[in-house]
Symmetry: C2
Subunit: 405 residues, 2 copies
């Protein structure tokens, strides 16, 4: 990069480790004299066009480390999806502040913004290195084995299902929990990591990669209820019918859309309530409960994968080292080596921008109501160390002494 | 107690530490030769009348310790609320197995069962010591400063609101989360422990101890939205109108009731959705999200108060020592000494049985939409050590260099 300032911003939904990437970048920048200052843009690109920057150049390391373990975007975030005119305003503000490196931590929409800004900078002949630093709990970024933020949310989902399954075991019935993930089922699939023994829930897992058929769902629940005397179910918020219309949208009537044209799926319990109502009405099962994990799964303060923390930190550092080393604008991909090591490399922004990865067929059970074993091999190394493990009493049954009633 | 067997059972909703009490009792019993065997009844009193016991007398300590840190009733639970005839069947089964001590871990309904069983045993002249070992996340037991299970759920609620507040700060709007607690607001009130700085959420807290007025609620939200540019709200599932009818019940139409005559409030997102809908429609605020913490708050595997763990363990041990030492049937109360130590004592079952404690007026803000500072002094020692603490960037604002648009 040319000598100048570095701007860092955070976009889209927060994660538990998004500040690790921020702090990794801020601290790494201190080793490079060509980086004259590090500015944080408040609320993503909206802060850039408003010139709402804070100076992080001499932020205390103690405070940065405390911020690093705090979930949710410390700089604030935005749902703005800039068009060409907006991107030109971003570039104008960066030029005005003599910014020569721009790091934007976000998902596939964020990478699309970076693609446009970097192209506009090139057209104007302005030396700006744009690095997209990946994060998303949806885990739907192309080119990467996985995305930072996903492992911690996956761990939350696994631990939540461990507890929910134990709860359901103690007071049997049907339990349905709705998990985030509009198009990609990775987060819902992580519920399978809650299973440690035969018979453990979730007994059924429904992913947006497969068409959801309510009649088939009811048949599956009936089968599991007969087999186990109870049934724990993980459902993606993005489950949809054969037309591709999400059930949540059919429910929503006049549905709320964000700037990306996405209908609001989270922040409502309607889907869980709909499915619970169907099970009660059609199967005549008395105790049916529906939960929606909602925002807890991306922002709960106190459930994090140490693998995720380390990788999020490392890609923040990697971004700065690449920018300072003269790299062209790019996104960062995470590759998996063996079982298990992560490696990072730069990839073309266009390969990631605005694209969505979904679960591979090999990760999904043929019946479409569960994951396949290959997914567990994929997800387990990501969940981090010291995942809790449920225990059961082993005591032997006592013989009856009374006459049968 | 007379020489004989000890039966232990778990009733009602599970908690994160209910197995600590179980394991405390099982291990303590090994020190008393007059306790010939320790049986666990499966699914509470329903297991007793079915003679569905498992022998825990020689259960491995290693496994017991693993069970102790596993949330949710390891023996299984029940929602059965025994009447006199049922209690007589319980007594008959205990006599048939030569049981002379009966420990039942549960809430105020459980203590009522113990009252009836102990009275029936006395009438028959059968030497049976019945000890009610308290637990409830609702924290609504008379005679006690607090109930085991509550501190861990309170910690979950506090950590959840810390994360939700950080999430809301990064993407501002209105966020409403519904917390368990039918008649007592202790768990909802624990959300206040998430606040570490001025302006932190939750900005409003609605408890079942006060009448909920939707118009006043909307006015409160409007005020906070104007003050903070966002609003995070904790709402008890038990909020009700001036008639005492819970809002959740008005919504439910033909509501589901359990054996205790309680209408189902948990396991549905309807209340959060109703309140979110009101805020959207009446205040015209675009980004409104509603979560319902549901079963996660009582059974999440990985969020526990170490104070709660220790006390739950200690009352299990205390129950056995008291029974073996010749105590009469009783419930156990937890007293608070100084800031902070817990002490245990036996209290009459009739003082706890079927009664409900609610939050004292001194714990509730006069306006009825927040807690009072005295509540924080009450709850903080219970939450345990190493509660996470959110950090913020301290960087100074950068001066604008562009002309105002």
């Amino acid at each position: 990069m040319q000598r100048g300032k570095l701007v860092i911003a955070q976009g889209g939904g927060p994660t538990a480790v998004i500040n690790q990437s921020l702090v990794g970048a801020v601290l790494a920048a201190r080793a490079f004299p060509e980086i004259e200052a590090v500015y944080g843009a408040r609320h993503g690109v909206s802060g850039i066009v408003k010139e709402d920057f804070i100076d992080l150049t001499r932020e205390s390391v103690t405070n940065l480390e405390a911020v690093a373990i705090t979930p949710s975007s410390a700089l604030g975030s935005t749902r703005d999806k800039p068009d060409l005119a907006y991107c030109r305003r971003i570039l104008a503000a960066l030029k005005a502040h003599k910014v020569t490196a721009f790091l934007y931590i976000g998902g596939n929409d964020t990478s699309d913004t970076m693609r446009i800004v970097s192209e506009e900078a090139a057209k104007e002949g302005y030396g700006l290195c744009c690095i997209h630093v990946p994060k998303t709990i949806d885990n739907d970024l192309m080119e990467s084995d996985h995305a930072p933020g996903y492992p911690s949310s996956a761990r939350f989902v696994a631990q939540a299902f461990m507890g929910a399954d134990l709860d359901n075991r103690s007071l049997p019935g049907v339990y349905i929990a709705v998990v985030m993930g509009r198009h990609a089922g990775f987060l819902t699939a992580a519920s399978a990591a809650a299973r440690t023994r035969e018979g453990d829930g979730p007994h059924l897992i429904y992913l947006p990669e497969r068409v959801f058929d309510t009649e088939k769902f009811l048949g599956d629940v009936k089968t599991m209820q007969e087999r186990h005397g109870r049934c724990v179910i993980a459902v993606s918020e993005g489950i949809h019918d054969a037309d591709g219309t999400p059930l949540a949208v059919r429910l929503a009537g006049k549905a709320e859309k964000d700037a990306h044209g996405n209908v609001q799926l989270s922040g409502t319990g309607a889907l869980a309530d709909l499915l619970s109502g169907e099970v009660k009405a059609k199967l005549g099962i008395g105790r049916v409960r529906g939960d929606t994990f909602g925002y807890l799964q991306r922002s709960f303060f106190g459930c994090v994968s140490d693998v995720d923390q380390r990788e999020a930190r490392e890609i923040g550092e990697f971004a700065v080292r690449q920018a300072a080393g003269g790299a062209k604008s790019a996104s960062i991909a995470i590759l998996r080596v063996g079982d298990y090591k992560a490696e990072y490399r730069l990839v073309d922004l266009a390969k990631v921008a605005g694209k969505t990865k979904v679960m591979a067929d090999e990760f999904i059970a043929p019946a479409g109501n569960d994951i396949a074993p290959a997914f567990l091999n994929y997800v387990r190394p990501l969940l981090g160390s010291d995942l809790p493990k449920p225990a059961r009493l082993e005591g032997s049954a006592v013989a009856r002494v009374m006459k049968p009633a």
